[in-house]
Symmetry: C2
Amino acid sequence: MQSMSAEQTTDPVAEQIRSVLDGRWADVRQRLRVDEDFPVAVPGLELGLEEHRAATLEAVRALAGTELAAGSLPVDQGGSGDLGASVTGLEMLGHGDLSVLIKAGVQFGLFGGAIANLGTQPHHEQYLRPMADLSLPGCFAMTETGHGSDVQSILTTTTHDPETDELVVHSPSLAARKDYIGGAARDGRLAAVFTQLIVGGENHGVHCVLVPIRDDAGEAMPGVTISDCGPKMGLRGVDNGRLLFDNVRVPRANLLNKYGDIDDEGRYSSPIESVNRRFFTMLGTLVRGRITVGAGAGAAARSALTIAVRYGLARTQFTYPDGEHEVVILDYLGHQRKLLPRLARSYALALAQNALVEKMDALDSGDVTSEDAQRELEARAAGIKAITTEHATDTIQACREACGGAGYMTANRFTDLKADTDVFTTFEGDNTVLLQLAGKGMLTNHAADFNELDTRGAILFGARQVTTSVIERTIGGSLIQRLISGAPGRDGDDALNDRGGQLAVFEDWESHLTETLAMRLRQAGDEDADSFAIFNAAQDHLLEAARARIDRVALEAFVAAIDAAPQGPGRDLLEQVCDLFVFSTVEANRAWFLEHGRLSSSQSKGVIAKVNDLCGELRPHAATLVGAFGIPDAWLTTEMMSDLAEF
Amino acid sequence: MQSMSAEQTTDPVAEQIRSVLDGRWADVRQRLRVDEDFPVAVPGLELGLEEHRAATLEAVRALAGTELAAGSLPVDQGGSGDLGASVTGLEMLGHGDLSVLIKAGVQFGLFGGAIANLGTQPHHEQYLRPMADLSLPGCFAMTETGHGSDVQSILTTTTHDPETDELVVHSPSLAARKDYIGGAARDGRLAAVFTQLIVGGENHGVHCVLVPIRDDAGEAMPGVTISDCGPKMGLRGVDNGRLLFDNVRVPRANLLNKYGDIDDEGRYSSPIESVNRRFFTMLGTLVRGRITVGAGAGAAARSALTIAVRYGLARTQFTYPDGEHEVVILDYLGHQRKLLPRLARSYALALAQNALVEKMDALDSGDVTSEDAQRELEARAAGIKAITTEHATDTIQACREACGGAGYMTANRFTDLKADTDVFTTFEGDNTVLLQLAGKGMLTNHAADFNELDTRGAILFGARQVTTSVIERTIGGSLIQRLISGAPGRDGDDALNDRGGQLAVFEDWESHLTETLAMRLRQAGDEDADSFAIFNAAQDHLLEAARARIDRVALEAFVAAIDAAPQGPGRDLLEQVCDLFVFSTVEANRAWFLEHGRLSSSQSKGVIAKVNDLCGELRPHAATLVGAFGIPDAWLTTEMMSDLAEF
């Protein structure tokens, strides 16, 4: 650990902040930072496709002995069961070749997660150890060419054959083809296939069945047609492929049967009667993959910011009026505005992500057990994944541009950061669909049986129940309440100059959007109402409300993390970064605050000025603020910084 | 032409609109659309680097006989001198492999443009024909590793040696290395090298000298060290490289001597006395490259929109409440909002680009000659390049996301569209620097001798002159005036519901931003003022003003193009698209309009509602609107559309 901190930074303020950002699994992060075998490396974009894929598989195999794998394995299977450690370790992989993160996430998070959460003890005993030690490379075959977001409508069928007591897996059309499946093209042996389950002639909805797709020699199993998705924008190390099943027979025991089973007499049964509710319950247990994608996106954005801020501190362009000295580009207000508000938002989202992983871990380990908590976790995970991946795309782009032509050279990392993260806004849930899921959570807090309904139905149903929105404080509830109560009032001129006032402003923003959304949607309950048209006309309103919710959650996470930090210059700096997050968020949304009488014109202009001021105040601390991300220098070497050192 | 329209579309409304979008060089566009030898092709991303570069050179060589090359060659050198045709042809290349566009742009636009505009008759006679027929592949060596935007501070020196009457070209440091130079790594023979010119011990500022970098066998010339920039994010077919000169000697005649010459006695002379003014005049003549980049970015954005809109019209996801029919994704408001306002903006910018090319052509052909017109062209070209390339980056990203996982597959084109256009926001002028150049134009309309000053100096100087901003209407002046005069008034509730009122609103927006900017900057003239600090504090204001200016120019171009179009359903549809451009632009900037009392809260909310309404109204015409871009189907084949056809 000493070698790490010697290599990394000797800035004590950065160290103070780092320990706040590192969160509960700080020890995991610190161990991985100095672990020379941890497969974090600049992607080998010079490799051929096959070599890149092989190297990626080897990198994931190298993780088999680490806490990333052990955390994904329950204690009764020889693992640590420390899911938070596993996801935190995956997040650290996000600073390297993202192909390794994604391939590891597919194996441990999606394939392993499906077996752990949808299967029962016999499946755990048979499959989880080989999953964790990579002797059984798996696939997670959910998406089809015709249906991605709408999993409930997938076309693959699995029919129970009472004659042989087997399951017959079949792809009836090209639209039913499993598509973009990680591991399918090259390495996967066993696929967790999502499919309509037909028993006794009746469709019981989507279930998951384990289907061997390759034999030990690597040849496709009979009836399984495998093809390669071919070249992709990025993630070259991940062997995405396509699967078509031609009446493939597997034993009945291959049904992951926690939420739906077939007995010896060929009768279907489930602990959850409603098909819809069963579907959403099953999918909800798979939240881990979504949380990992958000984690990786956040890490990639922090890598990009670290590179761009350091470049901005070393690169000069144009001279001061004295005609002699050149201006360091981060001294330009325009450059500060490009990087520093995004830096502040990265802090907020990293802390919100930490809180999310803690909640996931608590639910997984049984420390917290309630359907409400699980539902809240799913909604929050959906929203944070959407906002963090969107933020990553936006931030990496801004950082590339902030490094000019040098940023376009592959040796300076933005090539892989951009190309690899691009699909994060899409996979594990399209962001628009996920924001609707987050929005559903806002409207259904008080609604019974929302699980009976699809997302649109649940939102419309929930809207009928909501009249006054009650903010569900998920992080630091009593602290937040105390700060809000002590605030001078949300309408006063000083509302935004006090942390409690800021919290109140964010809560009010979310509440008002939620209540007015509910009012609009309530018409859908009228007789003869065209419920699709009413829902659709309010879609932009729904998405805006979900965004406000996640920004509020992120602010609460930020405030709670500061509150828990020891006094000192690190904490003082965090307070300023939090301010920049608040003011730049209000600035970006100030039209809403103006339209709804929350800000006067002069207050609104004051918000812009305050963002400029905070950029100037944080500029001298920029190196500290990226140093606090704790990304070892060796993980972020670039040619442009070596060049600048030679000038 | 019949075969084209048969292949392309049989939609007569799309044809009407296409003829408006095609503009003055419609005949060039139509010929190229059906020219089977025109090298527009999906980039061969499966090729090895060397093969891709070789194919790109061959594609550019194939252009030697076309109007792209002929237009870049003056009539007295056997060309057509039709610069507008050349740039329009390059724009059409923007629908294919952008490496071909960029390599052609370097050869015809930058290398050829430097010789044509900075050289004199002997240079024209010796070099322009081999430039145009590709027997002399050239480079444009301006940017250095240490100085990109600040060309005036480049470090390469060229010293006149009176003993031998030669020029000695030298790179004194790594910072002086010529970097990212297209053609340097593989193909270039002769480089137009920008360098400080030292004659008689005095530095006369930046000039351009022709330096042979490779011999006929392709070997580096003595004293020239060539290296390859290595892998880039995109534009794989362009052989970007680096050049270091170690006291390389060339004849005095290799100085491009239009704006600065050395006589037989070794004395320097120039028609422009001021070093600053000379520099900005020389650079101003090179505007063609910048205009070409904007043209290509616009074309790439239209390719992306065409693909994404067609996919959005064919792809379904989730069912209507009837549970049977699936919803076409472009029927979702969220999807419409992702694509249709960007479509409207693409129209506006395409028409502004057409007007810009017309003005450039008029100036080049001598139909218009005035320093003011040249200056206005440069400022407008800078702004339109910045806004169009930013728009392309944003739009291509949105289109990729709108196509979900399929958008991530290379076979569906977004891989190359994203990676290749990414650097457009940087090269030929970083967008932030270019917006400042556009802003300079707003403040220096009435200032004498602004060319004496650098951009920052000119802006500060101009600010002292401006009290009431006079909008410089560059397109359709009398028409615009007539419409504004007939408008019901900018403050009325209906201001935005009338074209004249919209124009007035946009002009007022720009004027107010300009006048208040001038007020802020005027303090810099005070004694003891820290002029850098004052300029820097207003940088975000300056950038915002420049954006408003370009949006106003784009609206005027849109209005003028509609006015010139024949009556009919095509024109009616254009009116609606123009409305969407206006309302979505006001929506995006509505915080400003609220803060400055231009919109009330309820009017502002009405703008949002109006955007939603217009999206719904244009949705049935979406296929027509992308069909009107006139991009032949064969140029935009994708795997995902073939897949959907098989469902």
